[in-house]
């Protein structure tokens, strides 16, 4: 099985929030979405961007968890809290550099993106990437991501896939080709 990654081209986002709806439908998600879509400059324009767990290589959330409730899957996915282990201290929500983990006070339980592990462990794309209509969220091999890099021909050194533009090395790759090239979006 070829290893694929979640790849984000943030500026393609049209704000339809399909990814949020799809997230609720993943097995193990108990009908609740674990991702976000933000207005970039709400009083000025309609640009939106999705925000997901980037599945850090050295995840702050897991390092800060006193219960070892956040496990790292062999695929690199940083899993949601184990339901019998999470003691509800909320360290992980404070530790994550992107504010990703959500906390349910009543259930005393943290839940976060697990990259739809029951799908991605078998090579099936995560729900969000499966439904995204604007190619903001894609499920690609490393070669395909490299090809993107060539396609956008960013010789200004501004290929934002990971370090040093993020807080740390991540398994998810992020890109903003248009904004970095100074190209205006057509839609």
């Amino acid at each position: 099985m070829v290893k694929k990654r979640l790849y984000l081209e943030l500026e393609n986002c049209i704000g339809c929030r399909s990814c949020l709806a799809a997230c609720t439908q993943c097995g193990g998600h108990e009908q609740r979405n674990r991702n976000y879509v933000y207005d970039v400059n709400p009083l000025v324009n309609r640009q939106t961007m999705p925000l997901m767990c980037l599945h850090c290589v050295n995840p702050a959330c897991a390092r800060s968890c006193p219960a070892q409730a956040i496990q790292i899957h062999e695929t690199g996915a940083v899993l949601s809290a184990l339901v019998e282990k999470c003691i509800g201290c909320q360290n992980c929500t404070i530790a994550c550099p992107y504010g990703i983990p959500k906390f349910d006070t009543e259930q005393n339980l943290m839940y976060k993106c697990d990259l739809c592990i029951d799908r991605t462990k078998d090579g099936i794309p995560p729900m969000c990437a499966s439904v995204c209509p604007s190619n903001t969220l894609q499920w690609l091999t490393d070669e395909e991501i490299e090809a993107k890099q060539k396609q956008f021909n960013l010789d200004n050194g501004k290929w934002v896939t990971s370090m040093p533009y993020l807080e740390g090395e991540t398994n998810v790759r992020v890109n903003l080709p248009g904004i970095l090239q100074g190209v205006t979006k057509l839609f």
Binding site: G27, N33, V37, Y38, D39, E84, I94, N108
Partner: protein, 364 residues
Amino acid sequence: MQATNKMQMNSASTKKSTINDAFASKFAKSMFLTVLGIAVLMFIGTRMFTHIDLNLYGYMVGTIVFLGGFFYRFIAWGERPPTKIILKKGLKLVFSKRTAKTAVSHLAIYDFIKKRGFYRWMQHVLIGWGCILACLVTFPLVFSWMYFTMDDNGYYTVVVMGMDLLEIKADGIIAWFSYNALNISAIMVIAGVCMALYRRAKNMQARAEQKFIYDLMPLYLLLFISITGLLLTIQNVFLHGWMQPQMSLIHQFSVILTLIYLPFGKLAHIPFRPMSVLARNYREHYGEQNMKACKVCGDHFVSVEQSNDVIHVLGVNHIEFNMEDGFNLAELCLPCRRKYRISRFSGVPTHQVKVKEANQNARG
């Protein structure tokens, strides 16, 4: 983008010589003291070893092996920086007024599991309380902290820790519950485990992440214990004790196997869940003392203590999120932190725009 990953050196604290120096490791010390404690309690409970039930010898050995695994696993775990902080600060607050209320809600009636669903709650009450009841009966018998003697008058004397606690009528209601406590607990556990197995077979939510060794094995082990235990009674009552010695060995084997598995698999949550009470105390206590105001919007979102502790723990792991804008990411409330990330992606100061985040819940 300018996150720096600096090493944070912990200055070695000056060492005082303590009782700890007498042992090669914390492991040896905990093991020694616990076994010693059990031996002393046995000595008292058995009126100087005159009342040991050697049929239960296997359980005794099993318990000692379990303690080995338990200390091995939990000492390593307690040394992790975030665990250490909650343990230390939580234990200091353990005598606060809150503890009793939180402990009952978290450890006895599992309120929070009910919020995850009535079925899941019912299932856990049956399994959890079934097991606790069984342990409350079994272990005092194994270590002879409790036993029964009978005089000719039709009354049992219950002896607890070497003292005659009470006399009960051999065919009375208390006696009936005592004989049947283990049968009742077995039926509770079987019912609860069947509910769990059914849920794991039918419910896609439960199936998504389950693994055999982690999720199913503990259920089969509990089922194995309960069924062999019940069979013992059936053999006794209906089959005149046919094959009972053999079944008794199988039953002991199942209990010992489970005890050995316990510190390593899913059941490890049992000895360690009381931590949730410590964590709640920690959050409530420091939350009342001093709340952290978000460096962007000023909202109070966590205690100053916890924010600092998390920054410290991440530092020990060589993770540091100090931003050029003069704050650590752990000092921003969650919506501001997410907006700040968007602003770093887009170059637009999203976190400065005074508009509440759009609804992020797909179900409204």
